[in-house]
Symmetry: C2
Subunit: 209 residues, 2 copies
């Protein structure tokens, strides 16, 4: 296996495996966000970072493996934005409103700010990478927890099966989470998801106002 001079140098300096992985991910993120994910090969990446292809392959089995980490980082950013927005919001209906607004905004931000990085998200959604599956599972879980809390506090109705209703609410949210579908929805054209939220909240309310 050939090791490039710079890689050998790094190895000489003795960076922990974790650090080299981080370094590759950071460089790859910058590279992909400039040149795009689809058209970049591991060779291009290696050349840009100044590592040998073989050295990169020591840490990542494929371009997709690098993409998976970047994708997971992006999704973690969206989730962190959502949790920050939910901070201090107590009532279940408000939490659901904030969840809808914050997740759509965070997803749009990723799409609009970094179109080329977005290619990774599209590949991830299309090929159902584990990171996106796990992310969707956590959002679905978050919806269910909000519904459960709302039922416990009397803010939401209690007659329908919780799993069916939380799946339906999640299903309404899904097209706005998926990077392939998001650009085709009206939020892209300055229509906010407010009407959608209010429809969902009326559906969940225990009685008519």
């Amino acid at each position: 296996m050939s090791i490039s001079p710079s890689a050998a140098l790094d190895a000489g300096r003795g960076p922990a495996e974790h650090d080299v992985r981080t370094q590759i991910i950071e460089a790859a993120t910058a590279h992909f966000s400039h040149y795009g994910y689809d058209k970049t090969t591991v060779s291009d990446l290696a050349k840009a970072i100044g590592f040998s292809k073989a050295y990169i392959y020591k840490f990542f089995a494929s371009k997709q493996a690098i993409g998976e980490v970047i994708c997971a980082n992006c999704l973690a950013q969206i989730e962190s934005d959502v949790h920050a927005a939910l901070q201090g919001v107590d009532a279940a209906p408000d939490r659901l409103r904030v969840l809808f607004t914050a997740i759509v905004e965070a997803s749009l931000r990723l799409f609009l700010q970094d179109r080329r990085l977005y290619e990774i998200a599209v590949a991830a959604a299309t090929d159902r990478w584990p990171s996106t599956q796990a992310y969707q599972g956590r959002i679905r879980q978050l919806v269910e927890v909000i519904l459960k809390d709302g039922r416990a506090s009397g803010a939401f109705e209690n007659q329908t099966p919780l799993d069916q209703t939380s799946r339906a609410v999640y299903q309404i949210l899904v097209p706005y989470l998926n990077p392939v579908t998001l650009p085709h929805l009206s939020v892209m054209h300055e229509e906010s998801p407010t009407a959608l939220q209010e429809l969902v909240l009326r559906s969940l309310s225990p009685q008519r106002v």
Copy 2:
């Protein structure tokens, strides 16, 4: 302008312009559904039909102009399926249920049966061809009419602004109508839109059951 022998023959038989257009559309539909829309050129099409390229251009300004007619035909088929399903269904809540189910089924059928023809639908949705815009407008109108009828009969609540609520219901339907987004939704994986329908209907109901 050169006219191919077969076209000249057709001209000799004196087909009306309408008939030649229909003939081109039928041949193009068959060709696209076999070889795909994206990779086929007007030259390929002309060769396959046995017309000259120039002759085709007499009737259609571009490949997209042919695609637009095929797309409009597909959408007309979906709408005709939906209206057939709605036949004899009177109560507004039932009509809304049937609309959801029938439109998702008809769209899926088009997607699953004719993947290559589906490329046209994708191009149409991505580039916002007039036929898809008009189709969406008609479906949106249909939703509003059902909601209006339901309000008049007392089946649906009357407190919310009709336009806002019908837009929200339509927004829930949109991802299932759009050929780009449809394959990424759970209905593709045998999850029916039933939970979604029921959530919407609870939201529209004038009082809790």
